[in-house]
């Protein structure tokens, strides 16, 4: 047990994981480039579901190793953070010296967010044709009323708006306006406007998703940023 603790507390372990993870990132980017067709669907499905369905471990092994490296990094971060907090508490300088630990907590939250997203998320793309009612989940239906496209003087799209009516099995929801970067949230599902088409018949492509990891990742990101700025403030002050 002592050996495992020493291993997880060692800075050399952290550096080793960093280097290994960076190698995997470089290898991964080359693997993506070499298998464009295979990876074209990876963002359409939660990661673990995609991995189990794609059945190509000979190509995707580096993702499994990434998960392993991140799990090890998470463990090491927990051990190092706990050890540092205890040490600093004994010295009575906890508040002045915790920014790195705040950042570590943020990283852990982000990892948890990614884990939840990869394992329990839900994503589905649905095309809605004008006037037709389409099932977007077994309990939720959507009807596209109309779309509006704003263009600039050169004919480029500058804004889109889609009027969509949502209804449940037993209840009706109000009309929603979907716009880029302004999703609608219905029954805990995020509804995102992806593209609009005003050709022969009006239609829109929407993404429906539920992402239980997002709040954790968001909290982690905010904690990480706050810790970062605290760290910067304390270091620059001490250097000056």
């Amino acid at each position: 047990m002592k050996k495992i603790t020493a291993f997880l507390l060692s800075l050399n372990t952290v550096f080793g994981i960093f280097l290994f993870f960076m190698f995997l990132l470089i290898f991964g980017s080359l693997s993506l480039a070499g298998n464009l067709a295979l990876f074209s669907g990876v963002d359409e499905t939660p990661l673990f579901k995609w991995l189990s369905e794609s059945g190509t471990i000979r190509v995707t092994w580096w993702i499994y190793l990434m998960v392993l490296a991140l799990a090890l990094l998470a463990l090491s971060t927990i051990f190092c953070t706990a050890e540092a907090l205890l040490r600093k508490a004994r010295r009575g300088a906890l508040l002045a010296m915790i920014p790195p630990q705040v950042m570590h907590a943020g990283v852990l939250f982000i990892m948890l967010g990614h884990l939840l997203t990869a394992s329990t998320g839900y994503r589905k793309d649905v095309t809605l044709e004008q006037g037709e009612t389409t099932s977007i989940t077994p309990e939720l239906f959507a009807t596209l009323d109309s779309i509006e496209i704003t263009t600039d003087k050169n004919g480029y799209d500058t804004d889109w708006t889609a009027k969509v009516r949502f209804s449940g099995m037993q209840e009706a929801f109000s009309m929603r306006l979907l716009k880029p970067v302004e999703p609608a949230i219905i029954n805990g599902l995020g509804i995102y406007l992806r593209t609009v088409s005003s050709g022969t018949g009006q239609s829109v492509l929407i993404r429906v998703c539920r992402d239980p990891g997002a709040p954790w990742a968001l909290a982690g990101g905010l904690i990480l940023s706050a810790g970062g700025f605290l760290l910067l403030w304390s270091r620059l002050r001490s250097l000056n």
């Binding site: 800075l11 480039a33 464009l36 994503r123 995102y192 940023s225 970062g228 760290l231 910067l232």
Partner: protein, 258 residues
């Protein structure tokens, strides 16, 4: 009607060419900043003024902050470096830093000028989170550029003040870069319902974050200093520039619907 469209396009092209002209004038003046004595300082200030004028011109053309495409982003990165240079220069004149930094700023402006300005903004970019993301991201890149220059000066002359400057600017850049990634994730989630994509650019951006994280951890926790540490910190900008320019071109990504 055709005539009106033609005039509009011609006017857009004219404004784009004017912006490119301003950037090239600014790049020339920045290089002239290498002149000895006050002349160099005035040339640099003139370069900065013309650079600001080009940014204002782009703001007026786009009707929003010019941070939405490569031309503007690279120009903004050079602007951050120029402002940092001015700040350092006012505190303490450093000839050796000028010799590396001013040509790098000019080079960046030439690269920016080589990318034709795009005068339209995608509906998905109309978000405060997007602007915050790009603003922080390229502020960080500018600071990585400054860190690179300080590291190069340190490796050449071994003056510890430059090693300290390299560390401080890398740390500042990394913290701002982190906030830039977080705001980018928030924007992407609100636009597309996901905060991560399996693309080469995402992987390399993560790599860049880990790279500077490794350098800063080593410097902070192990007191890792000297020429090797400085070289590792300096190489960070190469990773950053490859992430921005190389990935996507040299290393393609799977086709996504984003």
């Amino acid at each position: 009607m055709d005539g009106a469209i033609y005039c509009g396009l011609a006017s857009d092209e004219g404004r784009s060419l004017f912006t490119i002209f301003l950037l090239l004038v600014s790049a020339t003046l920045y290089i002239m900043g290498l002149m000895e004595s006050k002349k160099g300082h005035y040339a640099f200030l003139a370069g900065l003024t013309v650079h600001v004028a080009s940014i204002i011109e782009r703001t007026l053309t786009l009707g929003t902050l010019p941070l939405t495409e490569k031309h503007d982003n690279i120009s903004y990165m050079a602007f951050v470096m120029a402002l940092s240079y001015l700040y350092i220069h006012v505190k303490k004149e450093s000839r050796s830093l000028s010799v590396i930094m001013l040509p790098l700023i000019s080079l960046l402006l030439c690269v920016s000028a080589a990318h034709l300005p795009i005068n339209t903004v995608s509906p998905f970019m109309r978000s405060y989170w997007f602007y915050l993301h790009i603003f922080l991201y390229f502020t960080a890149f500018g600071l990585f550029g400054l860190s690179f220059c300080a590291g190069a000066v340190y490796m050449h002359g071994r003056k510890s003040e430059y090693e300290s400057m390299q560390y401080r600017t890398a740390l500042s850049g990394w913290v701002i870069f982190t906030a830039g990634l977080v705001s980018g994730s928030i924007w992407f989630y609100s636009a597309y319902g996901t905060y991560w994509l399996w693309t080469s650019r995402e992987l390399w951006t993560t790599l860049l974050w880990f790279y500077y994280g490794l350098y800063l951890h080593a410097r902070l926790m192990k007191g890792f200093r000297g020429r090797t540490a400085s070289a590792i910190g300096t190489f960070g900008l190469i990773v950053a520039l490859f992430t921005y320019f190389g990935v996507g071109t040299i290393i393609p990504s799977p086709p996504t619907q984003f």
